[in-house]
């Protein structure tokens, strides 16, 4: 914040009037008819070329603007009224605020004090009504007098602002609204406390989703700025198997994929992600994945979900995908044993290849410590620029720019369910899907200029 320029005191008083009545006691700024606090009036009057010559030495009046309010120099300490009234704390483009101020000026103090007197009287009457019987309460007139003495000066200053809040109806309304909010919030919390909520058989928790979704949406929109390509390839209804690449140590890509499906389908479809068996062994991650609709990646679960006509996402790279080093990024690992193809063949679900670009960079894994991983029972122990040395900061994913691309659905129904038993067909289809995803990734990477800016 820039300093208030040192000004020479001129003999002139400021020409402004506070509340259109009291003359401003401040001395005017050099070359101006107004003091620092009322400099805006100067601008309003000086329409075009009336700026004084020595104005060049002082800062442009508007540039330093309202943000100097807090640091009112001692010059104005003696007059608090002036310093708080004149530089409006409200933004200039706020039409209502401007109107209020204008109205205040035009009506003058008499209308304002009338209004104040009315409201105080009303307040006093209501207090009489609301007070429990037998309470020693001053008479309405006495009370009005007390109120006027206590709040009168304040009312003057915040007329239109605080004045509205002295209105008993407003207070009553505010009380009712806040009581309602409090009650509904505590009721929902209480329901959680006493276990009164439903989980589906995979443990998905609709209420939990409702709480987490806005947070995830913020990550989706603002942090990773996810861009979806080929949204028309997501089936809005009926079974489907999304086959995606996997990266980034923790399965954020799965969560974002689920959110992309939710955002881009007209029916706000909820996807089911199949999670590698390492994640259920991690505290909190296990609960989180279970509650947002994850299921253990096993052919049994996948078939059951597809039979129910759900949209299922698989990450055939599994742990090898999330645990690959930074130098191997975007190089697809082996697609498991083609189990997902067998499931698709058996259930006749179309395969939609998905390429997630950007998730590789959220936790750049420089190296991994196999012995420590073995000791802790983890498949790998990641070393990133921030983990583990910076403690909780190490869990912060980097804000890379993401793209999620949905490819053309691959129809496998023509092969029939018996093809699932044929390793040759399974291997061929696996390779087809894998190369499709790899091509989509490479195409996107060729167009990407920056990891963080896109």
């Amino acid at each position: 914040m820039e300093d208030i320029p040192v000004m020479e005191r001129s003999a002139l008083r400021c020409a402004a009037r506070i509340n259109n009545t009291i003359p401003c006691p401040n001395t005017a700024m050099a070359g101006s008819a107004y003091c620092w606090a009322h400099r805006n009036l100067q601008v309003a009057e000086a329409d075009d070329d009336l700026l004084p010559v020595d104005d060049l030495t002082t800062p442009p009046p508007l540039a330093s603007g309202d943000n100097n309010d807090d640091e009112t120099p001692d010059l104005f300490v003696d007059d608090r009224l002036a310093s708080t009234e004149a530089p409006s704390p409200l933004p200039e483009d706020d039409a209502i605020a401007v109107n209020d101020r204008m109205a205040g000026r035009v009506d003058g103090s008499s209308a304002q004090s009338d209004r104040m007197a009315q409201e105080f009287a009303r307040f006093a009457r209501t207090a009489q009504l609301l007070a429990p019987a037998g309470t020693p309460l001053p008479s309405p007139e006495e009370m009005e007098r007390i109120l006027r003495r206590l709040l009168g000066p304040l009312y003057d200053r915040f007329s239109g602002g605080l004045g509205d809040y002295l209105n008993p109806d407003v207070v009553k309304g505010l009380f009712l609204v806040s009581a309602y909010l409090l009650r509904s919030q505590t009721a929902s919390m209480r329901r959680r406390m006493v276990g009164d909520y439903e989980l589906d058989d995979f443990g998905r928790d609709a209420a939990f989703l409702g709480v987490v979704m806005p947070l995830a949406q913020a990550l989706y929109d603002s942090y990773w700025r996810v861009e979806v390509i080929g949204a028309q390839n997501i089936p809005d209804s009926g079974r489907g198997l999304l086959v995606s690449n996997h990266s980034g140590v923790l399965p954020f890509d799965g969560a974002m994929l689920g959110l992309a499906v939710y955002n881009e389908t007209p029916s706000n479809r909820l996807m089911r992600g199949l999670v590698a068996s390492w994640f259920p062994t991690l505290p909190f991650v296990s609960i989180f994945l279970q509650k947002i609709g994850g299921a253990q990646a096993s052919p049994h679960n996948a078939e059951l979900l597809l039979e129910r006509d759900e949209l299922v996402a698989v990450f055939p790279e599994g742990i090898k995908g999330v645990g690959k080093l930074y130098r191997d990024r975007y190089q697809l690992q082996r697609f498991g044993r083609g189990g997902f193809i067998r499931v698709a063949l058996r259930t006749g679900a179309p395969i939609i290849p998905v390429a997630v670009t950007g998730a590789e960079e959220i936790y750049p894994m420089i190296a991994q410590l196999a012995p420590l991983a073995h000791l802790l029972g983890m498949p790998f122990f990641p070393i990133t620029p921030l983990f583990p040395w910076t403690g909780p900061l190490g869990f912060l994913p980097l804000p890379s720019k993401w793209w999620i691309e949905f490819g053309e659905p691959i129809d496998v129904e023509q092969y029939g369910p018996r093809a699932a038993a044929n390793p040759a067909i399974v291997a061929r289809l696996t390779e087809q899907v894998r190369s499709t995803v790899q091509q989509m990734l490479l195409k996107r990477l060729a167009q990407r200029r920056s990891v963080f800016l896109g």
Binding site: M193, G195, D201, S277, L282, P283, Q290, Q296
Partner: protein, 351 residues
């Protein structure tokens, strides 16, 4: 008079045996033979009680002489800590007893097991069906014995295909009269859990479980069947419904200290607070119930949450009903005496 079907219930003095025997006695045209090493604490109306250990070699003669048609084997000692006597009774006793049943020409054997025998592991699918291997590696004696018996049963069933061998694998049993690892967990003042884990649990009401056993006897069904109620509850949800606080503990700490705690008699008591092994509070072990509906034709009356609610309500009123229950017991006794006298009269209906 039509020949009565004779059913033998072992472990009739235990909770399970008693409930099943009472439910069977309510059915018409069944003669129920109760076998246990100790007499039941309360007399069971109309039960033909025989005091015998299941390892008694003379049971063959008894079963043959009584022309027992179906055996419901419910004698089971449930303990966390491994004891030689329990192992002998549970595993060796069951083996010997089943051999005796075959020798005596019993047609159907019904046993109870638990879905815990599948083991809780991260790679479990949401629905473990009956074809999944019995793969639990537990340090808890009861589960270990059950796994061993189940493995024996698989061989046994293959060896005697003409025998109808029904094994009902129950999910966590809840009920006012039930005593399962899960009810022991819920009866603790503070429920221990693993930090950051909230497993899905399947439940079955104790009454439903008893009904399933009776249903199996009446339909003369065989085969391995998972029995669990609809819906799942998570551990935190169950604790919330029971109104108990949850104490989350870092899983590594539990895994490291719990085996060590079992080594000395003093710290062994700490295991009381983990009636379910940590793995079962961490990984899924929910079982598929397709066969229960399709093959067994059984439908539980209560869903998991209803069953839990029933249990919780029974727990809440328990302190207020202790004295009235005693009175009820006394009335029961008189009931039994009247019934017995009626039966013993030579001009009874059985005439």
């Amino acid at each position: 008079m039509t020949p009565q079907r004779v059913i033998a219930v072992t472990g009739v003095s235990g909770r399970w045996g008693r409930a099943v025997a009472e439910a069977l006695l309510a059915q018409p045209a069944l003669h129920v033979l109760g076998i246990d090493a100790r007499p039941p604490q309360r007399r069971i109306n109309g039960l033909d009680f025989i005091k015998a250990d299941i390892r008694n070699p003379l049971l063959v003669d008894l079963l043959r002489a009584e022309q027992v048609d179906t055996v419901v084997h419910l004698a089971w000692r449930e303990r966390q800590q491994r004891r030689e006597a329990d192992f002998e009774s549970n595993v060796l006793g069951t083996m010997q007893f089943l051999g005796a049943c075959v020798e005596a020409g019993v047609e159907q054997i019904v046993l109870r097991s638990s879905t815990a025998v599948y083991g809780a592991r991260p790679e479990n699918p949401v629905y473990l069906d009956e074809s999944f291997p019995v793969a639990a590696r537990s340090s808890y004696a009861s589960v270990r014995d059950m796994v061993e018996v189940e493995r024996f049963l698989a061989e046994f069933a293959a060896e005697f295909p003409e025998l109808r061998l029904a094994v009902l694998r129950f999910a966590n049993v809840v009920g006012a009269d039930a005593d399962s690892p899960f009810t022991r967990l819920l009866r603790l003042p503070v429920i221990p859990s693993l930090l950051g884990f909230d497993p899905l649990l399947q439940l079955i009401d104790f009454e439903d479980a008893v009904r399933a056993l009776v249903h199996t006897v009446l339909t003369r069904a065989g085969g391995v069947v998972n029995v669990a109620a609809d819906e799942v509850v998570s551990l935190c949800q169950a604790a919330g419904m029971a109104g108990k606080p949850v104490l989350p503990i870092l899983h590594l700490a539990v895994y490291w200290t719990l085996p060590a705690a079992g080594m000395t008699p003093v710290t062994r008591r700490a295991r009381r607070y983990w009636p379910l092994e940590p793995d079962y509070l961490r990984y899924p072990w929910t079982a598929g119930t397709e066969r229960m509906r399709a093959d067994l034709g059984f439908e539980p009356m209560w869903t998991a949450r209803q069953a839990l609610q029933r249990f919780v309500e029974a727990q809440r009123i328990a302190p207020y009903t202790a004295s009235s229950e005693k009175q009820a017991f006394a009335d029961d006794d008189l009931d039994v005496i009247i019934e017995d006298r009626r039966r013993s009269q030579p001009t009874g209906q059985e005439g």
